[in-house]
């Protein structure tokens, strides 16, 4: 059973069916922190993609692994820390490209690595590290002022 602790921590088993619990957990806290619906959706998507990647690639779809999602916030900073065991992951080995750029370059629509693109595109800071035997992904998003543009140029 998923375990939710007081200090905004959720632990799930590495089963894709648990993704909805992760989304629900992150959504509630992001909205409480002050993000609007679209910014909350971006955070949810990024965390979902990190968890999905860990289940598929680090745990190879074995449902007995553990994934911990921890939320921390300070001033205008909202941090999501996802930790999991399994096969180490080095994001530098992955070439992240926008689906549109790929389509323009090749004339073909190919899936793959879209999750990584979403993670980097929708969060302000992404940090993959290894602590002991664990993979730790730190995702950071800042609250933006109302007059600040939320949209960056993804097609550049």
């Amino acid at each position: 059973m998923p375990k939710r602790e007081k200090n905004k921590k959720l632990t799930i088993t590495s089963d894709l069916r648990n993704l909805n619990l992760v989304r629900e957990f992150v959504s509630k806290e992001a909205i409480n922190f002050g993000f609007d619906e679209i910014e909350t959706e971006k955070i949810i998507l990024a965390v979902d993609e990190v968890c999905t990647n860990s289940i598929k690639h680090s745990y190879k779809n074995k449902p007995d692994g553990k994934i911990t999602i921890e939320l921390k916030s300070r001033k205008d900073k909202f941090v999501v820390i996802v930790s999991y065991d399994g096969i180490p992951f080095d994001p530098k080995k992955i070439k992240v490209e926008s689906p549109l750029k790929k389509f323009t370059r090749t004339g073909k629509v190919k899936r793959g690595k879209l999750g990584m693109f979403i993670i980097y595109q929708f969060m302000d800071e992404v940090n993959y590290t290894r602590r002991g035997n664990k993979n730790v992904v730190i995702l950071t998003k800042f609250l933006k002022r109302k007059n600040e543009s939320l949209r960056s140029n993804f097609y550049a």
């Binding site: 993704l19 679209i38 979902d48 629509v109």
Partner: protein, 132 residues
Amino acid sequence: MGKEMKEKNFDLKIEERGDVKILKMKGYLDAYTSLQFEEKMKELVESGNYKIVVNMKNLSYISSAGFGVFMAFVDEVRKNGGDIKFCCLPEKIDEIFELLGFKHIFEVLNDENKAIESFEKLGVKNAKKRKK
């Protein structure tokens, strides 16, 4: 009556108008629910259905795995004179389509009828081409 695929958190209803299949989605299309959806898409495309309208009016969420299913089949349906077109996107999903650049890869319409009719027009054009 259309065929149905039901799963916790995600429902798919398939209707048809002429040779256009209309996929009505409801709920959450994520890495889990997209596994069964991909099977359904495969079945559709392999049995020669190349004109597909995806009505997202009641879809609450889509992740990369969901997008991936459409990305996996769109080249094949286009090669066969069809397409995968989207309609009735909720605001949140519309924004995600925009931000990921999918509006430049896929055709996105506001209205289901318009999406279906755009295929009918395409059919007339192709028929004229064949006559020539």
